[in-house]
Amino acid sequence: MLHLTYLIILLPLVGFGILLAAGRRLGDPAAGWVGTIAVVASFAVSVGVYLSLLQVNAPVRSYGQDLWSWIPVDRLQVHAALYVDPLSMTMVLFITGISSLIHLYSIGYMKGDRDFPKFFLYMNLFVASMLILVLGSNLLVTFVGWEGVGTCSYWLVSFWFTRDSAASAGKKAFVYNRIGDVGFLLAIFLVWSKVHTFDYQVIFANIDKIGSANITAICLLLLVGVMGKSAQIPLFPWLADAMEGPTPVSALIHAATMVTAGVYLLCRVSPLLHASPSAELTIAIVGAATAFVAATIACAQQDIKKVLAYSTVSQLGYMFLAIGCGAYTAAIFLMVAHAFFKGLLFLGAGSVIHGLHDEQDLKRMGNLRAYLPITFITFAIGWLCIAAVPPLSGFWAKGDILDNTWAAHPGLWVVGIVTAALTAYYMSRLTGLAFFGRDRWAGADDGPVPDAAHAHHADGHSSEPHESPWIMTVPLWILSFFAAVAGVMAISGSRFSLANWVDPVFGSNLFHDNLSSSAEWTLAIIDAVVAIVFVLIGLRLWSTRSERPALEASFLRGAWYINELYDTVFGRPSERLAAFCADVVDPKVIDGAVNGVAGAFRGSGSLLRRTQTGYVRNYLVGIMFGAVVILGFMLTRMWWG
């Protein structure tokens, strides 16, 4: 079945093609089913490929599939080739699996939207691009997927582009991504200049040829790219704004898949990272700082999706912290678990928004567990996962990371555990405000309508929140199941052990914490206690009262005013430069040059026109002059050969 790997990418592309050609005719909901079936089929194939890969019993399971020769130019030989190994397979499985569930969910969520088929078109293209990203066997194929997901993210975030904020959020996401892409491209160029190949395996085989300074440079440049894609400091503001997109988009792209592309990339280039300890340390510090900062911001947000967005940034910070310590498997563990529970949380939030007729403000929710029971149960599972309450998956994953951090950089462990406390706290705040306490949602018609898809709900329906249809709750159940039990991957030696599966990919580059059993237990207990205590604190504080200004500093709510900072430092000067170009450079310099050329010709023409006097005798002088010139030429030829 391994030879069918290309189908994993092809099937969503076929779905994209069908929807591109006939989407409008298929309409609501047929287009949605087409998109969903494409991704489900891709998932089926990936399961098959996974099982075949299991059969390969080599120490490092891998399978390469060369599709065609993409760039055959002299020294630059690049193939469109796929590379299947446990790392990419893990990504493929959860990408296609969670995408299938989210596609199914979207059929219900986007029902009635004017551009229903276009949504699934973009989503299929996105899944295809993401799969290209993770299955690529060389940097260029990965970059194609990287750009593809960035573009689809732009399209999907600004899906309701008639709304100014959505259009500008899409632009913001794309621009931040692009800034990161510069780093990625520079890294690719640097790699090429040293080893003249883009293929991962060949690069890793030739690491000693690169030189340690260059390796550090490459790693740091890749980190810049990752900062853009995975929303780390300093390129994270776009993720919060990207919540303008429909909730399934937030769930898929900005929680489960696109933002994890950075994690994948750094894991993929683990040999390079391992060869540069300074880069690793930088990554760890960036990750820890991001985790902390984002967690503080999330504590003060009012929009349910923004809390989840900053939470994503924070969890991604954890993953990079793990990578920075060399604990790649731990990062992957959290990535998988996070995909499940964050996807679940977002879909649950979508369910809440849908049920409340497009209300996103936490202060206007409350006591929803009485009205949205299924949503509440599934959301609660996700909540407890992310808060790292045992025995759910989040506890094991975060614990794994914190153990490795304690062993590698104890200072960062402190940041990690504080962030874990904050995570538990703000998630409990969210749950408390939304599902507990008094009903504050009375009156669904006051307040803006963020989700244009549900505008039609605003009139005629009862304003009481209602549970979502089966098409939206089934994915919630499935995800909550996986979120809960994903912890089994931590059991080493078992059939589900993630370490057994993925460790061989990293080989000796992997960091082993080698903690003594007592150290492990101590850390585990600390984690559990911190989680449970702060869950209770958060719940207690926020299920009783919805307004606590002391705990919601405006500095935090304004995201450390980083948007304002960027505006002052980059935005205004750029605007002034643009205005300068538009008002001065364009009309005076460029137009001036063009018109100047025309003017010069006109002027010279007028000048030359003076020789046309009309007098024959003047023309005769001209003839004589020409004759003298020819004479002179002949003379010079005579003299100088």
Partner: protein, 242 residues
């Protein structure tokens, strides 16, 4: 080049007194006549000086054993062309004097002198330094060995037959052209029937043989306004008769 010519000349003997004398006189005549053509105020005087120059050149031809050409020069050039010139001068009545001191065009005179001086020096220098290009002794055959006329005729009708025929065609065309150019416009053409034809005939048709009085405006054709001679004619009604 000159060196080659000089050796050539040297081998054929040095100049004799009669040769030098004739050359000097002929050269003087030529130069004097040329200067006269340029300087004379009356065009008729210019034409007569031209005749003088042509005669001088004919003498120089004879001196160089180009006898036939000398004869042709006198007959055709001096005899026909200059006479034609005189005919036209008399016919048009442009034998008025022209003020040679004034020069309406700016910079024309200095430029003319400068360019001509440059050109002349250039030519003279070229004569000094130029080299003979091919080694061939001649293109169309020798100029000695038979009487000049025989040689010329033979060459004309064999080697240069095509140019000869072309030139005769040229002559015919020239004659036709001259006739067409010089005739008066047809009096009975349909287009000018409206207001011009009858008057045109009456007004412009001079009695044959009567020369136009000098100083009066010349004949004008359809629609033209007579202007005093020498003044600029209004460009709007200038047409050249076909």
């Amino acid at each position: 080049m000159t060196a080659a010519l000089l050796t050539l000349a040297a081998t054929s003997g040095h100049p004799t007194i009669p040769d030098v004398g004739v050359f000097a006189v002929a050269a003087a005549i030529v130069i004097a006549g040329a200067v006269g053509v340029v300087v004379a105020r009356n065009p008729v005087h210019s034409a007569l000086m031209l005749v003088m120059t042509l005669f001088g050149v004919a003498v120089l031809f004879v001196l160089q054993q180009a006898n036939f050409l000398a004869a042709v020069q006198v007959i055709v050039y001096a005899g026909a062309i200059v006479v034609l010139f005189l005919f036209v001068i008399m016919f048009l009545g442009v034998d008025r004097e022209e003020d040679i001191r004034a020069e309406p065009l700016r910079g024309q005179r200095p430029l003319a002198i400068a360019l001509v001086v440059l050109g002349t020096t250039g030519l003279l220098l070229l004569g000094q330094v130029s080299k003979w290009t091919t080694g061939q002794p001649s293109v169309a055959g020798s100029d000695t060995g038979a009487p000049n006329v025989n040689l010329l005729g033979k060459s004309l009708y064999t080697t240069y037959l095509f140019p000869f025929e072309a030139t005769s065609a040229l002559l015919i065309i020239a004659v036709v052209g001259a006739v067409v150019l010089a005739r008066r416009p047809p009096a009975t053409s349909a287009e000018d029937a409206v207001d011009e034809t009858p008057t045109d005939d009456v007004v412009t048709d001079r009695t044959p043989g009567a020369p136009e009085a000098p100083g009066t405006p010349g004949a004008v054709t359809t629609g033209a306004v007579a202007t005093p001679a020498g003044a600029d004619v209004d460009p709007a009604d200038t047409e050249v008769d076909a």
